[in-house]
Symmetry: C2
Subunit: 447 residues, 2 copies
Amino acid sequence: MAFYDSPQLTDLYQLTMVQSYLDHGMNDKAVFEFFVRKLPSRRNFMVAAGLEPLLNFLTQARFSDEELEYLANSGFFRSNLIDYLSKFRFSGQVDAMPEGTLFFANEPVVRITASLPEAQLIETRLINLLQLPTLVATKAARCRLAAADKLLVDFGLRRAHGAEAGMQASRASYIAGFDGTSNVLAGQQYGIPIFGTMAHAYIQAHDSETDAFRHFADSQPDNLVLLIDTYDTCRGAERVIKLAEQLKAEGKSVKAVRIDSGELGHEAIKVRDRLDRSGHSEIGIFASSSVDEYLLEHLGQQQAPIDGYGIGTSLTTSEDAPFLNCAYKLQEYAGIPRRKRSHGKATWPGCKQVYRHVKDDGQLAFDQLCLETEKPENGQPLLQPVMLEGKRLGAQESFDTLRKRVKQQLLMLTPALANLSQQACLELNISQSLQELTRQTDERFND
Amino acid sequence: MAFYDSPQLTDLYQLTMVQSYLDHGMNDKAVFEFFVRKLPSRRNFMVAAGLEPLLNFLTQARFSDEELEYLANSGFFRSNLIDYLSKFRFSGQVDAMPEGTLFFANEPVVRITASLPEAQLIETRLINLLQLPTLVATKAARCRLAAADKLLVDFGLRRAHGAEAGMQASRASYIAGFDGTSNVLAGQQYGIPIFGTMAHAYIQAHDSETDAFRHFADSQPDNLVLLIDTYDTCRGAERVIKLAEQLKAEGKSVKAVRIDSGELGHEAIKVRDRLDRSGHSEIGIFASSSVDEYLLEHLGQQQAPIDGYGIGTSLTTSEDAPFLNCAYKLQEYAGIPRRKRSHGKATWPGCKQVYRHVKDDGQLAFDQLCLETEKPENGQPLLQPVMLEGKRLGAQESFDTLRKRVKQQLLMLTPALANLSQQACLELNISQSLQELTRQTDERFND
């Protein structure tokens, strides 16, 4: 996986800036924070994800000889930069919200403390590694809120934006409460349960749907989910019933049927009725095709007789919010707090921490943004040290831990925050000290 | 890049189907076609892209021992499948529209002819490799239509969905008419021109904007684009003017300023005025921040004094159309045409070709969808053979060829099709023979 670890996967300006930092001896300690400026309009919370892959990247990032040669010949750089990059190892500190933590706008999610060139160099890939998993984990959590305890499976690899997106999406959706994925490589590499049976092509390749069902029963007796909508959903269901009768005699059974087109709730009612009337209430119904949290909520309200869902495109592309207004900004350099004041993009200066306040009933009350040096009496600090001098602290968190964390945190959402369509936001209290520091910083840089 | 070539990056159902095909000796020739069912609502045409990476994948796809071991122990498969996969090499035929070809709904863009298990096995990654490049090339072409000959640079790596998406986006946008990318690895691996100067962090890390500008001029004298909106855009412009005066004495010059916030047209007018009044009409203005084709069109109508744009998120995520309603469907097996009739997802059966018809003035007239075996007298066939028995035909097309193709084809769009906001579609004529075959196919599979 050398491709992924390459720090050359970056924006050119990171390197031109580092060239200038080196030229001018600007090697002091810098603090950068990754945060989301404003949540997408249909998101009341985000689920932090992507930290584990980021820590892997930071541990393994090296420039190869071939890469250095390209840079040396690019016309942009001098040998002091190439020398620096050839020795580059990330040796900084990382503080972060653990994966699976719910977070809100303007809260630092990951904080990097390192020499200015090091902290600068990792910006592009850091954002690239954190944004998509966070988007997908959030979408998956919303699906889980809408689906209660129905089976949810990631079907979105094909329409994910490339290979890495597909892998990240399988992992992020599993953390956020999905039951598994169709992505075989994610099954192998991450140990996520895999699901899958047949496509329409399988039915079409046979001369009749009956033959196709029978063949599949022979080849996958323990994983018998039959796709029934290739030609006509109701006739497909009738054929499944016939097959189920035959299989009974062989001591085998049909696990479920899958419906992949039409109005899913309507189709499921018809199919459930046929299955039940023929005495096959043991055969489940699995549905796919343009499923998202809004459809899940609608089908739930209808009490549609569907036992599980395959969720594809809407999940892996985070279709209704395909990007985050996120940034990684310099907040302190050489001990002096800094901030950007650009129109609509101003930041809070200094090295910061977020404290979470919870009501007596366990629901979220508000978050407080304050300086790392403040130690408020109340609230729970969300950023934890996870890397020191380039070395990871503690072991990788298990899926079990991560999944429990998300589940537990979703229970802390107020009904307003848990609403999938109506906008609401958690109060972010800005500490007095941070407000004062902001005023001082503006005075200092008001040249 | 072993990760990318792995055919294990697939949906489980591809493998369960292949298990059954092998069990039942279903190894005859199959024809699958990749097409888009319906264009996104804000797209009147698509630009085909991603074929080159697909051909690379097909040439290199192998299952590793580790992967086969995982599958063997997964509980889904028997040894005949594992044996088959251990020897898997794609040995089929590929016919495709050359990259950069404009295409429309229901037109086969890539056609695979191979044994059923082979053709089935590659489905997931084929879609995954074709969708995003096509989305990004289309978005980039729309930006080019809106921007006339202004400089356009891909700035979207950080918010692309993972590493591969960033790489694919750099390549696809360059094919479709961008001038380059900020993505250094894309510069190295593909030979695309790279662009970039400084971020706000660079300015903030200095005690004053004046120092920052001076330092950058020392380190990047030949690439001097200065970001002026960190604190106050107009004051930033004044400082650039002062620096330009100093640099003049040293025989150096400022190439451009960059504005990355606020209302770009408005800010550019103010800055242009200041630069011109001080005699610096040679200093260009480069703008970024939430730029897409709609803003480009708006700024063009306003005649905003902006010479070039960095386009990020909207490009690499194809923000307003983050996925394609695309599919890869079985159209023929063992010499018999097939089609899916699922509600809203029906396909045209058989092995097909698209003929393009052009008016005397060079603009698109209509496309015809017909059977591969038909040889209509008029029109240009769009699908070309590119791989035979698993081997590529001809050399990789150069960027020069691809860029010229897109440029030329965009000129063939009618004003209605070239409109970025109003929906229009090119007529797709269905040949008599194809209509007749569809009727026959439905009769045959009407069991």
